[in-house]
Assembly symmetry: none
DNA sequence: CTCACCCCTGTGAACGCGCTGAGGACGCCG
DNA sequence: CGGCGTCCTCAGCGCGTTCACAGGGGTGAG
């Protein structure tokens, strides 16, 4: 799990970084609003911890811009203010949770875990899993920077699987979402197309979980 | 948007109902734990506001049971306690957000809206008992961070047992829930599969209660 | 101590899941 | 009209999974 901490108070930032790393997270720190926005855009983080008072760009504004650009990274906001309206503002402009300073580290951890459990609320623009990249808008797939040509059905299948990396997806679910007619189509189609994808993407990228479905290796 | 408020203090419940209805929500109220659980199960609500201190069944326990039954209704917890560990407990047992009484109505609304925006959490909570971890979504089991590969039947059995850690589960119950045809299948299958699990997870993790069933050591 | 009962486990067989190659139906293009 | 690519069906096969069975061991009651 990769986290981004955007906080300008150096001592607090360092303390957070140390504490979260001890929990097994990979933690990067940005000290200013613009730097944080940039990192959030390109860093592939699983969540962001964001101070409201920042040089260059406030936390509110940062989240608003991120959301306007269709980035749906889970955001946990921190603020020294404790006026209730600030809190409401923070949540309404797109943050997912809110904590007022001083806060307890245990609470921060618990809320962070709850946030990560939920995952990003909506679809990201480009899907990336391992060295696979899939761009829904351009209908392109690359594997380790080599372009892979897929048929429409293969593309739809991979698209669906890449939205659930590491999770088991049943054949029924795939039939429902990738094929329209769930009834009257044998689950064997799925097996066939998984076979096609394996041939094009590499044998071991798609694991089969007998009796349960398939899982895209992360 | 339909909301369920589970709160036993009549005055607070009525105030919440009035306030939320004024915001355009459809609000039902339950006054006891069991009534709330029942309503949450069958009511088709979009979110639930849940007091911790309830007659009949605590809020913690209510959420735990709901999650165990694979219901992923967003839950906002209310509590008079403000110990930080209570808060952490509440979130970890499956609630999505937490507010301590006395709380501001504006904050409640903002958090509720944030909750509704993100919808039901997709990923179920990971089951953890001792050093065993079972992730239903990923269909992965680890024991002290070593991955254990299980067959479908073994997985289903362990899944069921891990939802009742420390409790004695009878063979009949296991046959009913893990195997479909409870009749016409000898209870010996259970013994066989418990044997398989013991071989893979360690000898003393599954205790035999002679004449009663099995118990997963906590 | 003996007996009955419950539980454990090794063996082996049947089943059925998932993989694959072959090939037909359909639409698109030249 | 013929060639081509995609989509899907089908049948056969391999092998892991599931389960029945039987013999042995442990446990508690009398």
């Amino acid at each position: 799990m990769r986290l981004l901490v955007v906080e300008d108070e150096a001592r607090l930032a360092a303390a957070l970084q140390r504490g979260l790393q001890a929990e097994g997270f990979a933690v990067d720190v940005a000290a200013t609003g613009p730097a944080g926005l940039d990192a959030a855009r390109h860093g592939g983080y699983d969540a962001m911890i964001l101070d409201v008072m920042l040089p260059g760009l406030s936390g509110y504004e940062l989240v608003r811009r991120l959301r306007a650009e269709q980035h749906w990274l889970p955001v946990l906001m921190l603020s020294a203010k404790d006026g209730e309206y600030d809190q409401a503002d923070g949540l309404d402009c797109g943050a997912d949770d809110y904590l007022t300073k001083p806060f307890s580290y245990v609470v921060l951890l618990a809320r962070l875990r709850a946030l990560l459990r939920r995952g990003a609320p909506e679809r990201p623009v480009v899907l990336t899993v391992g060295d696979l990249r899939l761009d829904p808008a351009q209908r392109r797939v690359t594997r380790a920077d080599d372009e892979v040509t897929l048929t429409a059905r293969e593309f739809a299948l991979l698209d669906y699987l890449m939205r659930r990396p590491g999770q088991v997806v049943s054949k029924i679910e795939l039939l429902d979402h990738v094929w329209d007619a769930s009834l009257e189509t044998a689950p064997n189609v799925v097996e066939v197309y998984v076979g096609y994808l394996r041939r094009k993407l590499g044998r071991d990228r798609l694991e089969t979980i007998r009796g349960a479905g398939y899982r895209l290796a992360t």
